[in-house]
């Protein structure tokens, strides 16, 4: 089939009007053809708007309660899935505008799923995510700080929710601390460093972690130092990463 003939399938594909055989063939083509993927994307946006073409109708007020009831039922059946804690973190990160990479650009269902699962597997390796990460990231009062070492790697990003007394930190390109050493995160409150906890990165130089903040502590600057294993009551060296906190609310 010529490229031109393939592109003719984009509109019926977006409308779900291909036969199963045609769809399978076209999806295989989509995996390799960025032009057709882009075409399908814009036509799918058109299809998405057709929801507004349905004649307006008002559901009964009881439907809302039914929706809520069924969700509660689904929640009580058991754990949502082993992967659930990671995915919401990714979704939350995407909402906050953090780049998730172009890998999500694939458009047809299976490729998108495969790519997403691959990205997920990679994320699971590098992120020790917990539900509390999401709660912290989504707090209305969340403030953030970009920690950097004079414009070159390593770097870190920190989110702080004063109301939840938690910070979430994502560290990039930081080699694991040498044997017998550890990294320590500090909050600088009125010029005085207060330890927020110790951490280490994995072999790929990354880490995402949630740390507790002492109740009542407010701070303007955060910093990271390398310390003897177990951490120090006060920093024993100059910080190699430092960043100013921009407050949320």
């Amino acid at each position: 089939m010529t490229d031109h003939q393939w592109s003719e399938l984009a509109a019926p594909y977006a409308l779900g009007a291909l036969t199963p055989d045609e769809r399978t063939g076209f999806e295989a083509h989509l995996a390799e053809c960025a032009t057709c993927r882009a075409e399908v994307q814009t036509l799918r946006d058109v299809t998405g708007l057709l929801v507004h073409a349905a004649q307006d109708a008002t559901p009964s007020p009881a439907l809302r309660e039914r929706v809520m009831r069924e969700a509660r039922k689904a929640s009580s059946i058991g754990p949502r899935s082993a992967r659930a804690p990671v995915l919401p973190w990714l979704a939350a990160a995407a909402c906050l505008g953090l780049a998730l990479g172009a890998a999500y650009g694939y458009l047809h269902e299976r490729s998108a799923r495969t790519v997403a699962l691959r990205a997920l597997a990679a994320a699971e390796d590098t992120i020790t995510a917990r539900d509390s990460l999401v709660a912290t990231l989504l707090s209305p009062d969340v403030g953030s700080a970009a920690l950097a070492a004079t414009g070159k790697p390593p770097s870190a990003r920190l989110y702080w929710s004063p109301s939840r007394h938690r910070v979430v930190m994502a560290v990039y390109d930081l080699a694991p601390a040498p044997a017998g050493r550890i990294y320590q995160l500090w909050a600088i409150a009125r010029g005085k460093p207060v330890s927020l906890g110790i951490f280490n990165t994995s072999a790929n130089g990354r880490l995402t972690a949630a740390l507790n903040v002492p109740a009542g502590l407010t701070f303007e600057v955060t910093a990271v130092t390398e310390e003897p294993a177990g951490g120090s009551p006060q920093p024993t060296q100059q910080p190699f990463l430092i960043g100013k906190v921009a407050r949320g609310d």
């Binding site: 036969t19 507004h52 809520m68 969700a71 689904a74 979704a91 909402c95 998108a112």
Partner: protein, 200 residues
């Protein structure tokens, strides 16, 4: 746009992230925003109110369970919900052997939606943005030649393949294909304004 509390409303995708974290209030808010258009879509496909409500309850249940898999880079939350709803509605129609119903006039170019375009502010229970979208989509569909609009409606609301549409209309398959393509091209042009807004 701000709500009565003076704070901007949470974006849809934030609601979905909260749902993935088992926040039921986020589900309620999502329903309040999208329940009505999604219900109208379900009803246009299944034609029975009780069935449409079942479809919507199932669709929001699926959205609740799979919220963690929602990928904002692939499209809006509204489009995601519409896709889930349409799939479930078509499944139900097929399961009940009611496909023939889909061949009735599946949607109506909603003259009311065009008429109320300027009066959106008088419909506080719907939302101005939705009224604007309804108006523009209705006008865009109305501007299509009947034959092009018909094949698009049969595919979208009836779940028919091009081959099935050709058989139903007793038209050559090539004619159906050409009409579908041409109609979608025109819609893409006339809906460009909504599409560039991100189709929220």
């Amino acid at each position: 746009m701000t709500n009565w509390q003076g704070r901007p409303p949470a974006p849809d995708c934030t609601l979905v992230a909260r749902m993935a974290n088992a926040d039921e209030r986020a589900l309620g808010e999502l329903y309040d925003r999208h329940g009505r258009p999604v219900y109208a879509l379900a009803l246009a496909i299944v034609r029975e109110r009780a069935d449409a409500e079942e479809v919507v309850a199932d669709a929001f249940g699926q959205a609740w369970r799979t919220a963690g898999q929602f990928d904002p880079s692939r499209g809006s939350v509204g489009a995601w919900l519409a896709t889930i709803t349409r799939t479930r509605a078509l499944d139900l129609v097929r399961a009940r052997g009611r496909r023939a119903r889909a061949l009735e006039r599946v949607s109506r170019v909603d003259a009311d939606a065009v008429a109320t375009l300027g009066a959106a502010a008088d419909a506080p229970d719907r939302g101005v943005e939705r009224e604007e979208a309804r108006g523009l989509v209705a006008r865009s569909l109305a501007d299509l030649p009947d034959a092009q609009r018909r094949v698009i409606e049969l595919a979208y609301f009836g779940g028919l393949s091009q081959t099935e549409i050709a058989a139903e209309l007793r038209e050559p398959l090539g004619t159906v294909k050409t009409r579908m393509r041409a109609g979608m091209e025109k819609l893409r042009g006339s809906l460009a304004q909504l599409l560039s807004e991100g189709a929220a």
